[in-house]
Symmetry: C2
Subunit: 212 residues, 2 copies
């Protein structure tokens, strides 16, 4: 199956399909038509069919989709059929919040280490993981073949930390720092820029129904 | 100026322009060409010109853009020329992390209240704001004309809380719960679905350079 040409927009929608199919599966639903899925998810049925056609269509449209199969296949495409280890860099409120998300573990993302530059935090625990000094980060990531580094540190520190990570063999960075990182092509970055998101909300709120 | 037809994609890019222009401004840069901005932001100059043309173009291209003017105008379009009050619902790690973001305040988002259903948290403080019982949320939002409610609670509680918020006159919901909310059209919702973001990273990581 050729998956290389899939657009970012389609990829961006896959987790949402996965989430809805997981809920249908948990509710005992075995089959669903693109029409019913469309109503549930508030996207057009034609959008759903187009999206799924990128991956071969996932089964007969007339009979509806097999929920379990579709859930498993989309999970596989998302890379959820294997475990991913991650470390969190930054043991502040955000870092601790991310470390405590049990949901990530359910999806195969395994929390393996936590680092901070503040000595007062060394040895404190988040879900059984002790906070380690920043200096130990590179060696830990390398020796434990960590897949993902979560950056939950201020933007002024994030660039330098990302540069260090590049040399550890890390595959992916989940970046919560409010800065765009410059990393080599082979390393994947996904940004969660919270201020940007809040400004989008502000825009929508400022322009809603104002006839402006 | 007719701003009604601006696409979601353009709006989604405005906060990033705003961020880069703020950094240029802070560095004392007064003018920048679309070419230089393009290199800095790693988007094409033609994309920048197209985006800005949605708002009248922001000045002469030959002379470059006036950084301060562009920063102010984009800020105004984003609704950052006025204050927005917000409350945080959920005083767990994520809620506290969001309450502690001073950066939001710098942009005019004023943290006014915090609510939780757990009595053990009542009275605890986040940046001088005491955690209040959930039962007081509706009255507080109404009496204080709160603009934005931040939902930092589990998905099972989020739907019911969102329904209550609808009747308070709230204008916008910043939703961190892992569920899509059903609210009337006049209320703006911006979702931050962290699991979805992590799955996108997992997809990119699984498919990077694998020739798959």
């Amino acid at each position: 199956m050729e998956e290389k040409e899939i657009s970012q927009a389609v990829i961006g929608r896959l987790p949402r399909y996965f989430r809805y199919l997981g809920e249908l599966k948990d509710s005992g639903v075995e089959r669903i038509s693109s029409q019913d899925l469309s109503e549930l998810m508030k996207v057009t049925a034609s959008q759903i069919r187009q999206d799924f056609n990128n991956f071969g269509g996932f089964g007969q449209q007339g009979y509806g989709y097999n929920v379990e199969y579709l859930y498993t296949e989309i999970g596989r495409i998302l890379g959820l059929d294997r475990e991913h280890s991650f470390v969190i860099i930054g043991a502040g409120n955000l870092g601790r919040a991310l470390g405590n998300y049990l949901n990530f573990e359910r999806r195969g993302f395994i929390f393996r280490g936590m680092f901070d530059a503040n000595p007062e935090l060394y040895g404190k625990e988040v879900r059984g993981i002790r906070v380690m000094p920043m200096e130990e980060m590179e060696q830990f990531v390398r020796e434990n073949c960590i897949d993902i580094a979560v950056l939950a540190i201020p933007k002024n520190d994030a660039v330098a930390v990302a540069e260090k990570l590049v040399h550890t063999g890390i595959r992916a960075i989940w970046n919560f720092a409010h800065v765009d990182l410059n990393v080599p092509e082979g390393i994947q970055v996904e940004n969660v820029h919270l201020s940007d998101s809040l400004m989008k909300l502000s825009y929508k709120s400022a322009h809603a129904g104002s006839g402006f």
